[in-house]
């Protein structure tokens, strides 16, 4: 286990209340699985196997069925990630407008490869499919935020703000 992952996999009472609310919201309780996994990722930083089993218990599902869901979607992180996640779009428009240059620049600045996290746990770098902001290509997602019309200088500014 990672040093970052010392959080015990257990929702707080408030979070559990939110789980129950979500489960009651839908015509079928299982429909709340994605929202609850989002909640788990927010609470625990990533979705460990332990968290999957915990979620399975909350939904009376077999852990395998939760594992199917977690491994299917690209936004669920199964390993600890950095405090910030940078996802560079590498799809068509961004590719045409220099996504590779942005990615190369980020790799150099951060000293990590795609999929890697800086040794200080600061930033995880990803290369992802279309984020549907092609009008600002090349672009990337920095945590919740879209950043577009990227140049090396703009990338450097964004990195400086993250530190």
């Amino acid at each position: 286990m990672s040093a970052l992952g010392a959080v015990s996999v257990q929702f707080t009472r408030e979070q559990l209340a939110e789980v129950r609310r979500l489960q009651a919201l839908y015509p079928d309780k299982r429909a709340a699985l994605l929202p609850v996994l989002h909640l788990a990722q927010e609470a625990f930083g990533h979705i460990s196997l332990e968290a999957e089993e915990y979620a399975a218990g909350l939904f009376d599902l077999s852990p395998a069925h939760v594992h199917e869901v977690v491994t299917f979607y690209s936004l669920f992180f199964r390993e600890p990630r950095g405090r910030h996640v940078i996802s560079v779009c590498h799809n068509l428009t961004c590719h045409l407008l220099g996504a590779q240059r942005v990615l190369t620049h980020l790799k150099k600045r951060l000293g990590v490869d795609v999929g890697g996290t800086t040794p200080d746990g600061g930033v995880t770098l990803l290369s992802v499919e279309c984020l549907c902001a092609c009008e600002m290509a090349p672009m990337m997602q920095v945590n919740d935020r879209y950043e577009g019309n990227l140049t090396p200088e703009k990338v450097d500014r964004i990195l400086a703000e993250l530190r």
């Binding site: 015509p27 699985l33 994605l34 690209s74 936004l75 428009t93 499919e129 279309c130």
Partner: protein, 414 residues
């Protein structure tokens, strides 16, 4: 300049707020809608020639008409805000800049189809749009536009916002339903179609954000007006997402009768740096590519269909003369290989295989027979799968190679 309908408020500060929406006539169509019979609204939507703007272009009113009559149980309205088609970004603008238009559209559409619960499935990466839309839903509840007995009409509607978690296939309507149900986004077998048996086993209508945003205008101003904006088979305007090598990339709302040439040259400002046009993807990455000589086509569903491509999601990607088409195909093939859900064999196996072949060609290790193998595999796989994902991938596979074959051949060692 033609009239803006969906995007008319985009330039106004606070366009996402209830206050501004109401100031500009928002929610005014509700009373008129509630005075109509639900079936009359469906009829009006049919007559308007509104077609699905998410990608398939299916006539919206006809889709609504597939619902079983007099169904005793619940019926659901699901909004597909899982925008993911490469080259498309219009729904993001609607969610961020005019969320109440979607809510009003949902109220009227739900009333028409007899749904009392609506879901809005927003792609997981759209965190900002999700927050804005969530706030708008809260506002609408507070103002009595959602919940019980809306405006004293006796009609109830609740909206649940559901966030995706990163999977292109969830933009496919039955993949979306699976995901909404808390499962992997595996598309479902059809039949049964969602209108008969959809989300949670109930009759379900899945419509794109932009499609539903049109509905209040159709009700308020009439089907004839809407139909008159477009072509014989498709009414209204639609929002074109234009990106790539153009001077002014962005969203352009235009009648569907606009030509691709006009969209690129007049609206998006043409190509920068005096470069020449090489190719255009007219309807999102799944649409077959058009060469520079093929852009005098109208951008409606049938116009592009007749041109051998598709209107799809109206995501227009412009490529200038510097672009390597094999390189572009490798990027697109990588996308389809990454996003294939893996459920059915032809798509699961051939998207990966085709990506490997295109990558090998780019790396200079192509073989003479590779191009024909890609074409053959694409053709053989087409039409054999559970959903339209693979048929979408076939669009670029075949068109990029057929239209730019010499460029591929030049990369293959003799």
């Amino acid at each position: 300049m033609s009239e803006l309908i969906l995007t008319r408020n985009f330039h106004l500060p606070g366009s996402h707020t209830l206050a501004l929406y109401r100031e500009t006539g928002g929610y005014a169509g509700l009373e008129k809608a509630f005075a109509m019979k639900p079936a009359e609204i469906t009829e009006e939507v049919k007559k308007s020639n509104l077609r699905g703007l998410g990608g398939a272009g299916f006539p919206t009113g006809v889709k609504w008409g597939f619902l079983p009559k007099g169904h005793p149980g619940p019926i659901y309205l699901v909004i597909n805000a899982d925008e993911g088609e490469p080259g498309t970004f219009k729904d993001r603008y609607l969610l961020e800049r005019d969320p109440h238009a979607l809510i009003e559209g949902m109220i009227i559409s739900a009333y028409a189809i007899g749904a009392h619960l609506g879901f809005v499935y927003i792609r997981g990466e759209y965190v900002g749009p999700w927050r804005i839309f969530r706030r708008a839903v809260e506002e609408a509840y507070q103002a009595g536009f959602l919940g019980k007995n809306i405006l004293g009409s006796g009609f109830d509607l609740d909206i649940i916002i559901h966030r995706g978690a990163g999977a292109y296939i969830c933009g496919e309507e039955t993949g979306l339903i699976s995901s909404l149900e808390g499962k992997k986004g595996w598309p479902k077998l059809k039949p049964p179609f969602p209108a008969i048996r959809g989300a949670f086993g109930a009759p379900t209508i899945v419509n794109n954000v932009e499609t539903i945003c049109h509905v209040p205008h159709i009700v308020r101003r009439g089907a004839a007006w809407f139909a008159g904006l477009g072509t014989k088979t498709q009414g209204g305007t639609r929002m074109y997402s234009v990106s790539g090598h153009v001077a002014r990339p962005g969203v352009y709302e235009l009648p569907v009768s606009v030509t691709l040439r006009s969209l690129i040259d007049e609206h998006a400002g043409g190509l920068p740096n005096r470069r020449r046009l090489k190719a255009v993807v007219p309807g999102g990455s799944s649409a077959a590519i058009l060469t520079a000589g093929e852009i005098d086509v109208t951008m409606d569903v049938d116009g592009l269909k007749n041109a051998g491509t598709m209107a799809g999601s109206a995501g227009v990607i412009v490529m200038d003369e510097t672009v390597s088409i094999p390189d572009a195909l490798m990027v697109v093939a990588r996308f389809y290989a990454h996003e294939s859900c893996g459920q059915c064999t032809p798509c699961r196996e051939s998207t990966g295989w085709i990506y490997k072949m295109t990558r090998r060609i780019i790396e200079g290790k192509g073989r003479k027979e590779d191009l024909d193998t890609i074409l053959d595999v694409a053709r053989r796989g087409a039409g054999t799968t559970i959903c339209a994902f693979f048929d979408g991938a076939v669009g670029p596979y075949i068109s990029y190679i057929e239209k730019f074959r010499a460029e591929f051949e030049a990369l293959i060692p003799k």
